[in-house]
């Protein structure tokens, strides 16, 4: 190991120790990828997720000779944006250490294709949102890294677009927010046959709010892990979707490693046609993480008799002096509200569309207000 010339003995030891720790973590990660199986019916995190169909299809693509092909571009980023290089070991290690929700085997396969996407090193306040675009006609496996420096305010909008009916994308996102920083980030994905995105948000005492929207995919799976590492952190997660014939599979974790922080989640879906939506969330409060406030709410509006909702809101609380709650509700359109609109001469279809729009707007407005 090379140590800088002017380093004291203590600093050198600390550095060596940190390196050893990282090395051990990476080895553990490596064995996690090697021992993990492609998600199947025995995988509890893929319950209701039809892994034999979708995880298998994605794994087949990842293991095939189909190259990862896509177009990555960025707007309004200035010097903050740097393309991800396959040779960047630091970033690759960051991705290696990312947690998944039952998809370690898939992340392991994603790493083998590492080397596309963008890193955003945000060190100054942004006035305009930074737009990040990933587009593909075939199969694309980009990685995004967003790092927000202490005290900086930033806004990022990520677009994941499929340009053909066979398009597939498997993206990973790693977001690190330093103390006092504020990040508003949107993930807008659309138009793919298979779409999966694994997100890891690490909050070191800042404020993060995220909105995800998934539109017209055949199958979409979102895994979002929000981790709190410092007191004073705040994480707000929102999602609003209107699937009509798709399978939407959303999994979230709100992990409070330390106390004195808040997290909040609101995922709303309107289901029409033959859509199936699964939401599986979990709030984990680690032992000793006292004075935690964590909330989680999943709301579903069912418009069609052939739509299906699976909701699994979970709590794992290992500390006391916490305020935690979760709620889940699934129901059809309120007949009284509908009746009111009908009496005003609004046709039934439009009235339902209005109510569905208003239902989702709730989540969008709450995101805007953060």
């Amino acid at each position: 190991m090379d140590f800088p010339q002017n380093m004291s003995m203590e600093e050198a030891f600390a550095l060596a120790e940190a390196e050893a720790k990282l090395h051990a973590a990476l080895q553990e990660s490596q064995s996690r990828f090697e021992s993990a199986r492609i998600p199947d019916r025995l995988n509890e995190d893929w319950r209701f997720g039809r892994p034999h169909k979708y995880a298998a299809a994605l794994a087949e693509l990842l293991q095939s000779n189909t190259p990862s092909q896509g177009e990555a571009s960025v707007q309004q980023a200035g010097e903050a944006a740097v393309p991800v290089s396959a040779a960047d070991d630091d970033l690759k290690q960051t991705e290696m250490l990312m947690p998944t929700i039952g998809s370690d085997a898939l992340l392991g396969l994603h790493l083998k294709r590492f080397g596309s996407g963008y890193v955003l090193y945000i060190e100054e306040d942004t006035t305009e949102p930074i737009h990040l675009y990933y587009k593909t006609e075939t199969f694309y496996t980009p990685s995004t890294f967003i790092m927000v420096a202490p005290g900086v305010k930033a806004c990022v909008v990520e677009h994941h677009e499929g340009l053909s009916p066979q398009a597939a994308m498997f993206a990973t996102r790693n977001i690190q927010v330093a103390e006092g920083a504020e990040l508003k980030v949107q993930l807008l994905s659309s138009g793919m046959q298979y779409y999966m995105c694994i997100t890891d948000i690490q909050n070191m005492g800042g404020k993060v709010s995220q909105l995800t929207r998934h539109d017209s995919h055949t199958w979409a799976r979102e895994e979002t892990v929000a981790e709190i590492y410092a007191a004073g952190s705040d994480i707000q997660l929102f999602s609003a979707n209107l699937p009509t014939s798709q399978v939407l599979d959303q999994h979230t974790r709100q992990i409070h490693h330390v106390g004195g922080a808040t997290s909040n989640l609101l995922y709303k879906n309107v289901l029409d046609g033959t859509a199936t939506a699964t939401f599986a969330g979990n709030i984990y409060v680690a032992p000793g993480a006292h004075h935690t406030d964590a909330y989680q709410s999943n709301r579903n509006l069912l418009l069609s008799e052939n739509a299906t909702v699976n909701s699994l809101p979970g709590l794992e609380i290992l500390a006391d002096k916490v305020r935690c709650s979760h709620g889940s509700a699934s129901a059809p359109v309120d007949e009284e509200q509908l009746f009111y609109l009908l009496t005003r001469g609004i046709p039934r279809n439009e009235a339902i569309a209005l109510l569905a729009g208003g239902f989702l707007d709730d989540a969008l407005e709450k995101y805007e207000r953060t």
Binding site: F48, G314, L315, E316, I317, D320, A329, A331, P332
Partner: protein, 466 residues
């Protein structure tokens, strides 16, 4: 909050000398089943049935989607699967052996209480040792016997429903029970008979590594009503004891069944019970459940709402102290239109105790006008206490409404301060707060149980708060 180490629970920490006429030994094999069948004098079809179930049990995997990690530690070789004092149940109190009477007395079941009980089916080890049925019940045509007698005497009623609500292959523990069952009750209430007094059974375990595989089937014919109460207390032992019961309820058109359980076994007991009810048209099934004891409890009372306008309800209280995992919950399957269900679950975690809620609510395809409401509240007493909530809700179609809500909280420090300032000790104040937390659910229990429950909470608080 005070961080006192949790003190070992010594209530019920006693045992009587073991004196069994039948003992099938450790482990479960075909020979064990032959032994059980011979001891009970069972017909050949049942022997074959048990053996088929054993085969299934050996083939089936441990549950994976619906189980806490602790379940993997169960070693089926370390249990005894059949113990009995003899196949014929005692008929009167005088015939009950003295050492059993001593156990009953030690547990505070006074002899004179029998007068209030409509019928006592007191299970001592695997076989019913004491059955007392009031003449009145017989006059109404009510059948209340143990399951062995039920299969022998009332095969024409029992057999058609045997294993119908909970099939052999439902899960590994269902297969286990089908292979090794002994004891439990068989109740049949005829058309239109409404029982005013609850039927009651006391379960006792009094042998080390004793497996209890009780099998209860309750059939309420059209328009009938009954309440069944089951209470459990067990002496403390050194090695684990396995309890894997199966309780099936059938409520025919317009019938109403309430099933009350208070479970307070020692912490070396594995309590893995499958309870499921079938509610036909306009019928109602209520599970009122209180889990205080056992090291690992896995219990999710279920109602399959099979007929139009059927109603299901689960009221559940669980209390977990150090060394305990209370994995309880409820399941509601809406298999008919306009069915409604309600789940209210409250848990208290003390010391390093862990209480989990695991629930499943399912509205099947094409079912209109179904409603479910679920509320789970957890109270944490000490900093190392743990609580989890794992619900799974599935709704098909746009004509049903389902809602779930859960919260986690702790006793308000200000409230404790106020009560202590008024002269209460911290334990008394805590006890008052906890009793307040579960008060609305305790009211659902029959009077003598709710008194017992409050007494138990007081004891727990004295133990956990220094």
């Amino acid at each position: 909050m005070d961080e006192t180490p949790f003190q070992m629970d010594t209530r019920g920490a006693f045992s009587m000398p073991e004196n069994h006429k039948f003992d099938a030994g450790y482990g479960l094999t075909e020979e064990t089943i032959d032994y059980i069948c011979d001891a009970k004098g069972e017909p050949d079809w049942l022997r074959q049935f048990r053996k088929d179930a054993l085969k299934k049990f050996n083939e089936m995997p441990m549950p994976y989607h619906w189980a806490p990690e602790g379940i993997r530690n169960v070693d089926f070789e370390n249990f005894r699967y059949y113990l009995s004092h003899g196949a014929t149940p005692s008929r009167s109190w005088d015939e009950v052996p003295d050492d059993m009477k001593r156990t009953f007395e030690r547990l505070g079941v006074p002899e004179q209480e029998r007068a209030f009980l409509a019928g006592v089916d007191a299970q001592y080890d695997s076989e019913t040792a004491y059955t007392n049925m009031r003449e009145e019940l017989q006059k109404q045509g009510v059948i209340f016997v143990n399951s062995t007698e039920g299969l022998k005497e009332y095969e024409h009623i029992f057999r058609p429903w045997f294993g119908k609500v909970i099939p052999v292959g439902d899960n590994k523990f269902s297969a286990l029970n089908h292979a090794a069952f002994s004891g439990g009750s068989f109740i049949y209430v005829p058309k239109g008979v409404k029982l005013t007094q609850p039927l009651q059974a006391y379960f006792r375990i009094n042998s080390e590594s004793m497996g209890q595989f009780e099998r209860t089937l309750i059939i309420a014919d059209e328009g009938a009503e009954l309440m069944y109460m089951e209470g459990c207390t067990a002496p403390q032992y050194d090695s684990a004891t396995l309890h894997s019961g199966v309780v099936e309820l059938v409520a025919l058109k317009g019938a109403k069944i309430q099933y009350v359980t208070v479970q307070n076994w020692s912490t070396n007991v594995y309590n893995l019970v499958i309870q499921r009810g079938l509610a036909m048209e306009d019928a109602e099934i209520r599970w009122i459940d209180c889990n205080l004891g056992s090291g690992l409890t896995m219990k999710y009372p279920a109602v399959v709402l099979q007929g139009r306008r059927a109603r299901g309800e689960v009221v559940s209280i669980s209390l977990a102290h150090s060394g305990q995992l209370q994995d309880t919950g409820a399941r509601m399957i809406h298999a008919a239109p306009e069915t409604t269900s309600n789940i209210v679950a409250k848990s208290i975690s003390i010391g390093e105790g862990r209480a989990s809620y695991r629930g499943e609510v399912k509205v099947l395809k094409g079912m209109k006008g179904c409603r479910n409401n679920t509320e789970c509240d957890a109270l944490l007493i000490n900093p190392a206490s743990r609580t989890d909530t794992y619900p799974a809700i599935t709704v098909n179609g746009n004509a049903s409404a389902v809602q779930h809500e859960a919260s986690v909280s702790q006793v308000d420090e200000e409230m404790l301060f106020y009560l202590q300032q008024r002269g209460l000790t911290r334990a008394q104040a805590m006890s008052l707060a906890v009793n307040g937390f579960i008060n609305d659910l305790v009211k659902e229990f029959p009077m003598e149980y709710s008194v017992e429950l409050r007494r138990l909470i007081d004891l727990e608080m004295e133990d956990s708060i220094g």
